[in-house]
Amino acid sequence: MSTLQIVFVLLRRELMLAMRRRGDVLTVLFFFVIVASLFPLGVGPDPKLLRLMGGGVVWVAALLAAMLSLGRMFASDYADGTLEQLVLTPTPPVVWITGKILAHWLVSGVPLILVAPVLGVQFGLSNEALVVLVFSLLLGTPVLSLIGAIGAALTLGLRGGGVLVSLLVLPLYIPVLIFGAGAVDGAMSGLGSEAHLSLLGSILILAFMLTPWAVSAALRISIE
């Protein structure tokens, strides 16, 4: 079978599994919403302040939600032996790893993108800023899944993996956060957001080309 077919089969399988455990997907989504909603509570209801923070807060919440959902990426496959079997297929690991990352993004990144505008409205973002927010998430959340996959692969089977993965991955997420939130701010302040979005795009391309190899190496290390 061709490489593309393998990725397609994997995607179908992952989506089917996600459908069977919808609870997990929804939980991450709710986490995103709750974290973003905590801020107005912590900071106070001043609309000007909230407008200024809006983009940044939604992006931070997206980062944290993405990070929490990383546990799902390889852990269950590792525990039940499926990961070994995937490594032992003749397909090059980079192929199915790309498929798994894509599936992770579809299951935990895309829902965030869909509800983000609602959160943006809560913070009083302008319409233009909402559009930019969605675009920046569209370009940025795949990077979160890609980089996160490295952390998830390295911490497979370790105790305290959840907190550890955050320590590994959050610092690497920072450029995405900066450009993502920067794009929204640019739109709000009228400075324009093309520069930020195109930087996000280049990060995405770079990450897409490099991380599957790193993940493949990380999985080999963890499976030994």
Partner: protein, 205 residues
């Protein structure tokens, strides 16, 4: 065909075995024997290419398995401690996906046939989480029938199985060998396959 040359394995700080040599030809069965913790699983994972030997090399048809990865993995099937079965998918979905991911498209009749042969005909469509431990392992065993690999590497395939299933699995291995396949397995139970005299490979530190 499968050759191990002067293999050594170190886990943590302990050398589990060293200077291990063996060859496995078509139609042969190699039983890896040793006490708990003697390194049987480690050896099998090494032979799969999941673990890098501390020393020595593993050859498949004369080529190093790392170099010949794709062809080797296309001809090999591994059955590990973990059954590689997704709890939320049914037995037939599990089999279907795992064969496709291994690059072998199967149709649903074949899947049904294999599961039926292993006595799971009545629970094809139950999610595997409601199957018992032994039934889950049977699902994993059914994969061996479909993947049609030349080399089987089996880590304790007989645990958690009842008497009937034991018999079935041994017959399966026997047939595989008679058709020119090879198998390498570990088990703590006695193995009796008609017409086959297994080679043994004791593991000692």
């Amino acid at each position: 065909m499968l050759e191990g040359k002067d293999l050594a394995c170190v886990r943590g700080e302990r050398t589990l075995f060293s200077h291990l040599n063996f060859t496995l030809n078509e139609g042969e069965l190699l039983l890896v024997q040793g006490a708990n913790g003697s390194g049987k699983t480690s050896l099998l994972r090494m032979l799969c290419g999941l673990l890098t030997p501390e020393f020595g090399e593993i050859l498949w048809r004369g080529e190093e398995i790392g170099a010949a990865r794709e062809t080797y993995h296309a001809e090999m099937a591994y059955f590990g401690h973990a059954p590689a079965v997704k709890e939320d998918l049914s037995a037939s979905e599990n089999l279907d996906f795992s064969c496709r991911l291994a690059g072998i498209p199967v149709d649903s009749d074949e899947v049904k046939g294999a599961l039926g042969h292993l006595g799971l005909g009545h629970c094809l469509n139950l999610p595997t989480k409601s199957l018992s431990q032994g039934q889950r392992r049977r699902v994993a065993l059914a994969r061996l029938m479909l993947v049609k690999a030349k080399l089987w590497i089996l880590d304790e395939p007989l645990t958690a199985l009842d008497q009937a299933a034991l018999q079935l699995v041994q017959t399966l291995i026997g047939e595989h060998l008679r058709q020119g396949g090879m198998a390498l397995m570990t088990t703590h139970q006695p193995v009796m396959i008609t017409g086959i005299v297994p080679k043994t490979l004791p593991l000692t530190p």
